[in-house]
């Protein structure tokens, strides 16, 4: 089978059974790969009333048909499960080198179910698959555990592992790979922890065979050639996603002090230029990535020394401006802790920012906060809190459930400044003045995530004179197009930021697989993904789906207090019109539920 390993590897940790199921051509044509496979498998195997931390929940790791090839940034693997943080469809995309290795070992999907009796790790060496004892690694941080596993197994193994946060089922625990590269969102590390699964280590000698190698290689080389010529490539290579920081601040879109405002006074201390000057050691790329977005940094002070992946844009926001921290060493320190303890920096930062505001507003008392007084800019308190969260110790136990539940437990109006959507902490950009971005955020299938569709740049640069119907249509179009990259197993950034045409990816797919799919076939598969994940939310307990698509009260009710967008506030009439148009175009009813005829058309009933 060209382009695919041809096998779904199903591992049951309760019974210890390992089954290799053939991948059907029907599965490929309907769902392509990666996120498509994950959504389809969860859709067919998840029962009503899901328990994210129960043995029945499945952790699914899928590669795409382009994963592990020379197509730019083809290192992606998609991790999916029912999220312990949101209770609905959860997903995180991992870049790096793990996905290609899974593929080289011959697997398109690794599906993990059940729960091991003792701490375990999964060992995959081509056909040889074993569930091994992980007692020696349990309790160790992500970076330490990976170091020891590599000493034991060898550098050729690629692996993912969890840290103490995952072991202690912190709702936003992450899965870590390659010393700080994260499958960050939705708490999938806690799903691993609930299964007593410390790590998955894999080595593969097989490769990806092409149906039409000469034409595939030609397409691939041309894509690289065009990327290398791109005038903006150098800046991406130098600064990675952190290059958005100054732009976001200038446009009042930089989340600051728990999204109180959109511009940060201390931004000068955390710019990518400062980062590059003081802490960056090396650029680090995902597999076959020309852009090399990763920045590997080293920090040495009188008290401490550590090596850290990043901080990238998300960390600079969630662990920097949104916490009122204006020194790059501080942001790097918190990023390092998240990476080693195994927590999603965006959610962890969201919880810290919320705690800081709750404490300053006297909603969170010092007594309840274990004698700590969290507040914006107090990095030492944040460090202590991150460690407490990872151990679920004292106040950390409440914070470890995420902002939504933490706010509910505090009461006293705390939900008014709880920055979460569908239970997922919001990161990225301040969006209350940006209707298209806001629609993309609120309709995100895993929660408030800016990467799913148009981000704020569309509202800032192009929105004028466009009807609501057209805007909703464009959000959906982007949601579908971006899904294609997650199905193929490649990063979308070469397309979204450097303008490589999506048709070239479709051509590459056809040359590598020998199939003959059109862009429309991919868009249809994306649409299936968006409908399957929507139904999954309903199956997991969302009685009225439309109620999931809320806007955080802060964005809904508070105008921006200062900065370039001073006084700007959410336009409710426009927002609701956009949402209604979105439902209509998607074929969903007024309550946000997919209509039966739409599901029939997509062959989902």
């Amino acid at each position: 089978m060209y382009g695919y390993g041809g096998t779904i590897l199903r591992i049951n940790l309760t019974t210890g059974t390992i089954v290799k199921e053939p991948l059907s051509e029907d599965m490929i044509r309907q769902n392509i790969g990666g996120r498509g496979f994950n959504a389809a498998l969860l859709f067919s195997e998840t029962k009503e009333g899901c328990d994210p931390l129960g043995a029945d929940n499945k952790l699914i790791i899928a590669t795409g048909p382009l994963t592990g090839t020379s197509i730019p940034s083809s290192g992606n693997a998609v991790f999916s499960s029912i999220s312990p943080l949101t209770g609905g469809y959860g997903e995180a995309v991992l870049s790096g080198h793990f996905g290609p290795e899974v593929k080289y070992a011959g697997y398109d999907v690794v599906l993990i179910e059940g729960k091991a009796d003792v701490p375990s790790y999964i060992f995959i060496d081509d056909e040889k698959v074993e569930i091994r004892d992980a007692s020696a690694y349990w309790g160790k941080g992500c970076i330490q555990a990976e170091t020891f596993l590599k000493i034991s197994l060898g550098e050729k193994f690629q692996m993912v592992c969890i840290g103490p946060a995952g072991e202690n089922k912190v709702s936003f625990a992450t899965i870590s790979h390659n010393y700080g590269v994260l499958a960050g969102r939705c708490g999938l590390g806690a799903v691993m922890g609930s299964k007593n699964l410390k790590a998955v280590a894999v080595r593969g000698n097989g490769g990806v065979k092409h149906a039409n190698p000469d034409s595939f290689i030609k397409i691939s080389r041309e894509m690289h050639h065009d990327m290398v010529k791109h005038p903006e490539l150098k800046e991406w290579q130098d600064f990675g996603t952190a290059r958005w920081l100054a732009w976001a601040n200038e446009h009042g879109a930089l989340p600051t002090n728990n999204f109180y405002t959109g511009s940060f006074e201390g931004v000068e201390g955390i710019t990518p230029e400062i980062m590059r000057k003081h802490i960056v050691l090396n650029d680090r790329a995902a597999f076959a990535s020309v852009m090399a977005l990763g920045k590997y940094s080293h920090v040495k002070t009188r008290d401490t020394e550590f090596w850290v992946e990043g901080p990238n844009y998300d960390c600079l926001v969630s662990l920097g401006s949104n916490l009122g921290l204006g020194k790059i060493h501080q942001v790097a320190n918190l990023t390092y802790l998240c990476e080693e303890l195994g927590m999603d920096p965006v959610s962890a930062g969201g919880v810290l920012a919320f705690a800081a505001e709750a404490s300053e507003k006297k909603i969170l008392s010092a007594k309840k906060a274990d004698g700590l007084n969290p507040g914006f800019g107090k990095v030492d308190v944040f460090v202590t809190l991150l460690i407490k969260i990872s151990r679920r110790e004292g106040i950390g136990n409440l914070m470890a459930d995420g902002v939504k539940k933490f706010a509910a437990s505090l009461g006293k109006g705390a939900a008014e400044f709880a920055m979460e959507m569908k239970g997922l902490e919001v990161g990225g950009f301040e969006a209350r003045c940006y209707p298209v971005a806001l629609l993309a955020y609120r309709t995100g299938d895993i929660g408030g995530l800016y990467q799913r569709s148009h981000s704020v740049e569309y509202d800032i640069e192009k929105h004028k004179g466009v009807s609501e119907e057209k805007k909703a249509e464009m959000v959906i179009e982007q949601q579908h197009l971006r899904t294609i990259f997650d199905m193929l197993g490649v990063s979308e950034l070469a397309w979204s930021e450097l303008g490589l045409e999506i048709e070239r990816y479709v051509d590459a797919f056809n040359e590598v697989t020998g199939l003959n799919l059109k862009l429309d076939d991919f868009i249809r598969a994306s649409e299936r993904v968006w409908n399957m994940t929507r139904i999954l939310w309903e199956r997991c307990g969302a009685k009225k789906l439309g109620k999931l698509d809320y806007i955080p009260p802060r964005w809904e009710n508070e105008p921006i207090p200062d900065g370039p967008n001073k006084g700007c506030k959410y336009n409710a009439a426009e927002g609701e019109k956009l949402l209604a148009a979105y439902y209509r175009i998607r074929g969903w009813d007024e309550s946000g539920k997919p209509k039966d005829d739409m599901l029939k058309e997509l062959q989902l009933v």
Binding site: G68, T69, S70, H97, P100, Y104, I143, T147, E155, N178, Y179, G180, G204, N205, G206, G207, V208, K209, H210, P213, D214, I217, S220, R221, H224, M227, V228, L233, Q237, L281, N282, D283, R284, A285, A286, F287, A288, S289, V290, A292, G294, Y296, H298, W307
Partner: protein, 128 residues
């Protein structure tokens, strides 16, 4: 000619490995590449590209005379190679590789595919 490797520019993307295998074996498979990128992590956080210098030590030990030199580049003649692997341990750069699919070892012939592909120009050939 000699190879010049600027390790400090390497980002560890391994595009060189995958294009090498694609050029030689029409397959995306870094295990069939004739060079390797090694990362030293978590500390010191650097990469090293292991690349053939065409020093010829493999040819010196080959009992079959199967590694032949032409214009300063050593290539394995598959018709003469018996797969004894005497060349492997003597390679100072550790860049002669084996793969279960292949009878003969994999060795770099300076075809230049990796040099063209590398977006950082880490590997270059210079006149000595």
């Amino acid at each position: 000619m000699r190879a010049k490797i600027d390790n400090f520019k390497c980002t560890g993307c391994r595009l060189c490995e995958v294009v090498c295998a694609e050029a030689k074996f029409k397959e995306s498979n870094p295990r069939k590449a004739a060079l390797r990128v090694q990362g030293k992590f978590p500390a010191p956080g650097t990469y090293q590209v292991k690349f053939c210098t065409q020093c010829g030590m493999c040819a010196e030990v080959c009992p079959e005379g199967a590694i032949e030199e032409k214009d300063g580049v050593y290539r394995i003649n598959p018709d003469l190679c018996t797969g004894c692997l005497a060349c492997l341990p003597v390679c100072p750069e550790e860049v002669i590789f084996t793969h279960p699919d292949l009878r003969t070892p994999i060795k770099c012939d300076w075809c230049g595919e990796c040099m063209v592909a590398c977006p950082r120009r880490v590997i270059r050939l210079k006149n000595s």
